[in-house]
């Protein structure tokens, strides 16, 4: 980790503007570290030529004082975002050679604002996973290790490459997507900040679809301020996505340092789940004390349908996935495996192209949508979703401004340790994050402490619809109280 790659995004931005550093130096420093960090497998495609060209353009603009809000800032892009002329695979074999002819709205806004693309980041195949182990391009290693143990750990998922790269200082920030916790859980596992904005805050256009009523893009960065800076560029109206909100995007960075005095923070009793590790509840307790010390009022609340969020999610998300992934049929793009007729071609293509987790979810989704089962499963799950959302609405009506919960039920686990026998074991990772997607709310994960192995633990703050500014203000309080940033020891470039 060089001095340049250890800067925060805000520091780098300020030094670029002051002409203390150049975009070229900053990009080169990152490209050099990326090369050394290849054992992490965080990048599935490095784009050094792109990065150099974009950095040179940024330097020209900066010299004239015309730089955008992210001018010269090197970022990594989750491989779920379509990037024009740059291979985009969703880390699936079925898209292994796909080169989009268009740019996703979110990434086009980052480039509009001056950001520099370093490459494409690994993720669980089609974002289906909580450990990045389902990627067809291989698992990602976390830069973190347990104290006195060299066993490789997962960075979380599905945005595992994004989290690992930001934590290992091989980009200043990264994009992610979050359908059930895919930004917040990996952020918590790797000691960085990640926010899933309100559904509709960022355009989904050009992002490989998983579950369209739950999917939302958001940033990863090493500080709350850096996430606020990135979200401002990523968010905003888009005529190409009819679910994208027309609400103007505030300058989120202004929320950093804002007083949280008098804000009402809900503590939902249902998140105190059976068998919760003592270190998780202690961390939660500490977070509560930090916010209280900053002047917030702590209120016990109830979200009675919390325990049903995960089972309802595992009906709704696979149902939407089975429909979205019907497009991969070997006809218009992606892999084609010949068959004896066209149906056989579809079936052989999809059998060869999808990994086990994706196949399982498509099949479950197909079943719960099939004639005779639709009402019992899909419709019931959507009704339960209404009740989950209503729980949150009731909390806001009580005057609650935000809700504090743990981000994950544990610290990071080892590669191969979970879910091999029963997939439900892996799904339980998202128990604290999935409710937020079901209700379409914003949620931020902020590093708060460490577990007994010395691994990072995060706290989650859940906000009202379009309450991102509150989350940045509160997240900053947690970040300040938690002390110096957690930085993993560099073992990978030795």
């Amino acid at each position: 980790m060089s001095e340049l790659t250890s800067l925060t995004l805000a520091e780098a931005r300020d030094q670029l503007r002051a002409k203390k550093i150049s975009a070229k130096e900053l990009a080169d420093a990152h490209l050099a570290e990326m090369e050394k960090a290849r054992p992490l497998n965080a990048y599935v495609l490095e784009t050094p030529d792109h990065a150099k060209k974009m950095a040179a353009a940024s330097d020209t603009k900066l010299a004239k004082g015309e730089g955008g809000p992210l001018e010269g800032i090197p970022l990594g892009i989750k491989d779920l975002f379509a990037t024009e002329g740059v291979r985009t695979t969703a880390c699936s074999k079925i898209l292994e050679n796909f080169v989009p002819q268009y740019e996703s709205t979110v990434t086009s806004q980052l480039w509009r604002d001056g950001a520099v693309m370093l490459g494409k980041l690994n993720n669980d195949e089609f974002a289906m996973g909580s450990s990045n182990e389902t990627s067809a391009l291989g698992p990602v290693l976390s830069p973190w290790r347990r104290k006195g143990d060299n066993k490789p750990l997962v960075p979380g998922g599905s945005s595992g490459g994004s989290a690992s790269a930001v934590a290992a200082h091989i980009c200043l920030g990264a994009t992610g997507t979050d359908t059930g916790g895919s930004i917040r859980q990996p952020a918590a596992f790797t000691g960085i900040v990640g926010i899933k904005p309100t559904y509709g805050r960022c355009s989904r256009w050009g992002i490989v679809a998983f579950a369209s009523s739950l999917d939302q893009a958001g940033p990863f960065a090493r500080t709350v301020r850096d996430c606020a800076i990135l979200l401002r560029s990523m968010a905003g109206p888009d005529p190409k996505d009819s679910t994208c909100s027309d609400k103007p995007v505030p300058d989120y960075e202004k929320a950093i340092g804002k007083s949280v005095k008098g804000m009402k923070i809900g503590i939902p009793k249902e998140y105190r789940v059976d068998g919760m590790a003592a270190e998780i509840s202690e961390q939660w307790e500490t977070g509560r004390a930090w916010l209280k010390a900053a002047g917030a009022e702590i209120v016990d609340i109830s979200l009675p349908h919390t325990k049903y969020a995960l089972p309802a999610y595992y009906i709704i998300a696979p149902a939407e996935a089975s429909s979205n992934l019907a497009r991969y049929d070997g006809v218009r793009y992606g892999l084609r495996v010949p068959g004896k007729d066209i149906v056989d071609m579809y079936e052989q293509t999809r059998a060869a192209g999808f990994g086990k987790e994706v196949r399982r979810r498509i099949m479950i989704g197909t079943y719960v949508l099939s004639a005779g089962y639709y009402d019992a499963y899909y419709l019931r799950a959507q009704k339960v979703r209404t009740l989950i959302k209503r729980d949150f609405d009731d909390a806001w009506k009580q005057g609650i401004d935000a809700i504090l919960t743990p981000a994950t039920p544990s610290g990071a686990f080892g590669i191969g340790e979970k879910g091999s026998g029963d997939p439900v074991e892996m799904y339980l990772n998202d128990i604290f994050t999935v409710t937020v997607n079901m209700a379409g709310l914003p949620g931020i994960s902020v590093p708060a402490g460490r577990d007994h192995n010395g691994l990072p633990l995060g706290l989650q703050l859940i906000g009202k619809p379009f309450g991102e500014e509150d989350l940045f203000a509160l997240g900053h309080v947690v970040e300040q109280a938690a002390g110096p940033r957690m930085i993993p020891e560099n073992w990978w470039s030795k």
Binding site: S213, R332, R350, R360, S370, L379, R380, D422, V424
Partner: protein
């Protein structure tokens, strides 16, 4: 509810995914695990509850019904596994 081997085959065909015979039993186990997990939703009283398809408190946007995109067949076909003369090519579907 749980599924049998014939149902697994039927789902696989509906999903257009070829599944080998020796995978059926394993898949059946996985699907039944999931169905057992989601069984708890039956405890919830959903009488009179409207289903939620969208969490957004907004009206679907409308626009003028005009052609505002297109005319780039080459780009549309750029990733096609097989194409000819501006068309996607597939195995013969009509005898």
């Amino acid at each position: 509810m749980s599924v049998d081997a014939a149902t697994v085959r039927r789902i696989a065909h509906l999903a257009r995914i070829a599944v080998a015979d020796n995978e059926i039993e394993h898949l059946r186990g996985e699907i039944n695990n999931m169905l057992a997990f989601v069984e708890q939703l039956n405890e919830v009283n959903v009488d009179g509850v409207e289903p939620t398809a969208s969490v957004e408190d907004m009206k679907l946007k409308m626009r003028e019904d005009v052609v505002n995109d297109g005319d780039y067949a080459k780009r549309v076909l750029a990733n096609a596994p097989a194409s000819d003369d501006g068309f996607f090519q597939v195995p013969k579907v009509v005898e």
